[in-house]
Amino acid sequence: MQFSEYFILVFFLFLGAFIAACAIIIGKLLGFASKDTKNKFAPYECGMETYGNARIQFKVGYYLFALLFLIFDIEVLFLFPILTQFKMIMAGNTALNPVIVFANLTIFVTVLTFGLAYAWKKGILKWE
């Protein structure tokens, strides 16, 4: 069954986390602690005391890139199943018409490329 292919991956899903957890616990146990002082736990900022909160608000520009990523991520996701079959379709091994498929795909990609070009032109792709 196909399922078993994935089932072993579940083990691997936890493998990395398990190894890291073990390592941290080993480190906690074996480590030779130095004296606990206030400065020891202070955030490191080149040996100076920090000014203000470390968790600061950032620019909205970062957020836009996350959105762009999401959009293209979805595009990639939709292209994946189609492109796996692309060779077959073009060879005419399926029920689909190669020309229509090609046209469809072209429209799909072109629309998104247009979006990218629009963003570029509007100067949004500049990181600030």
């Binding site: 074996l30 030779f32 602690a33 130095s34 400065n39 020891k40 202070a42 040996g47």
Partner: protein
């Protein structure tokens, strides 16, 4: 607290456990001693030699220590490279505390052992890093060669290899005693010894004198013949830009009260001034800014470049010297302002209070901002209209102004010779 510290207690009673502990000892120490990741910390000359030692020629990577970590959280070894000042000390201690254990420190160079060249007559340098943090290995030298640093690393390695679980690594205790004045201590101790020796020897010497009344030592120290060199007089370079008398006549025309400082104002005397000694004019406080503005804007002088603003404390008054230059023409002019000290301040506060005030020329030369701050910081001269008058080099709560002649500071140790 790691469980490893409890290992000997658990394993020792078991037969053969001691060997196991020894083995563990060896393995942990081996790992620690051979994988020392230093913190990138360097303040002065020694830092350059520390960098050199990590470069191709010497290559600290051979010891596995090329992994210089910028964050103390991942470092093991604190190479204190360079002078530590009182302002730096808290930061240094903080960095040391932030290094997770087991951690080691190497004091590199004379400054970190004893203050080195800045040991005596100095108000700001910490005499020895081991007054701040526990130091494992000291490397003398100013700065030590990269090879010397490696020798220090090897010394540290031997020290780490000799650690055991029974006597585990622990954060050393800071020696809470400043670096002693070793010179004076040794002299004092020697004098006492001499006294005893004199007493003991008195008889023998008397006897010796009686036995050989006309004794003369057969030994005569020979002076080393020094090479003889010819006497060569100083030859000033040819003059650049406007000559002193021309500049002075330009000034004189507009500001009649200005006079040359250490020269008589007559033309031949000004002409005779050595060409490499710029004209030095004395100006009153009221005319100071106007004169500088005039000289900056006048196309003949065009003194557009501020070399420096500095001061001299002549016990009774301050001299503030503004050194100006013309970039295109090349002539220089020193403008001297004699500031009398404010006598209204009571004697006990004089050392810690501002004694004079003068106008700032920040609006004419942005470069003056920090230079005037330096004069403020070192002499306690207030600059009117200065945008940001804070202490520049010393701490905000530092008492006194170091470059005044009457400055005293509890930290200063007088040079005994």
């Amino acid at each position: 607290m790691g469980i490893m510290n409890a290992v000997p207690g658990i394993l020792d009673p078991i037969p053969g456990g001691k060997h196991l502990v020894n083995m563990l000892d060896y393995v942990t120490n081996w790992a620690r001693a051979n994988s020392l990741w230093p913190l990138t910390y360097g303040t002065s000359c020694c830092a350059i030699e520390m960098m050199s030692s990590s470069m191709a020629r010497y290559d600290i990577a051979r010891f596995g220590s090329e992994v210089f970590r910028a964050s103390p959280r991942q470092a093991d070894l604190f190479i204190i490279a360079g002078t530590i000042t009182e302002k730096m000390a808290p930061a240094l201690q903080m960095l040391w505390e932030q290094i997770p254990g087991p951690k080691y420190a190497i004091a590199m160079g004379a400054c970190t052992i004893s203050g080195g060249p800045f040991m005596y007559d100095n108000y700001s340098v910490i005499r020895g890093a081991n007054t701040l943090i526990p130091v494992d290995v000291f490397i003398p030298g100013c700065p030590p060669r990269p090879e010397a640093l490696f020798h220090g690393l090897l010394t540290l390695r031997d020290k780490i290899l000799s650690e055991t679980f029974r006597d585990p690594w622990k954060e050393g205790i800071v020696i809470d005693k400043p670096y002693p004045d070793r010179w004076s201590e040794a002299t004092k101790a020697w004098e006492e010894l001499e006294k005893i020796k004199d007493e003991e020897m008195a008889e023998a010497r008397l006897k010796f004198k009686e036995e050989q009344p006309g004794y003369k030592s057969p030994y005569k120290a020979l002076r080393v013949a020094k090479e003889v060199f010819p006497e060569i007089p100083h030859q000033p370079k040819p003059l650049i830009g406007l000559p002193a008398n021309t500049i002075f006549s330009i000034i004189k025309k507009n500001f009649p009260s200005v006079s040359p400082f250490d020269n008589d104002p007559s033309e031949p005397a000004l002409m005779a001034r050595p060409s490499d000694m710029p004209l030095d004019v004395l100006v009153s406080k009221e005319e100071y800014v106007d004169l500088i503005q005039f000289l900056k804007e006048d196309p003949r002088t065009h003194l557009d470049y501020l070399i420096d603003v500095t001061a001299v404390d002549w016990i009774g008054h301050f001299d503030v010297i503004t050194q100006l230059m013309s970039i295109e023409k090349g002539h220089k002019l020193f403008i001297r302002l004699s500031l009398p000290k404010d006598d209204s301040i009571p004697e006990e506060n004089r050392a810690t209070s501002l004694l004079a005030a003068m106008p700032s020329i920040y609006h004419l030369y942005p470069a003056a901002e920090w230079k005037e701050r330096e004069v403020f910081d070192m002499f306690g001269i207030h600059f009117e209209n200065h945008p940001d008058e804070r202490r520049l080099f010393v701490d905000e709560d530092f008492k006194g102004y170091p470059l005044r002649k009457d400055f005293t500071h509890p930290h200063i140790l007088k040079r005994p010779v």
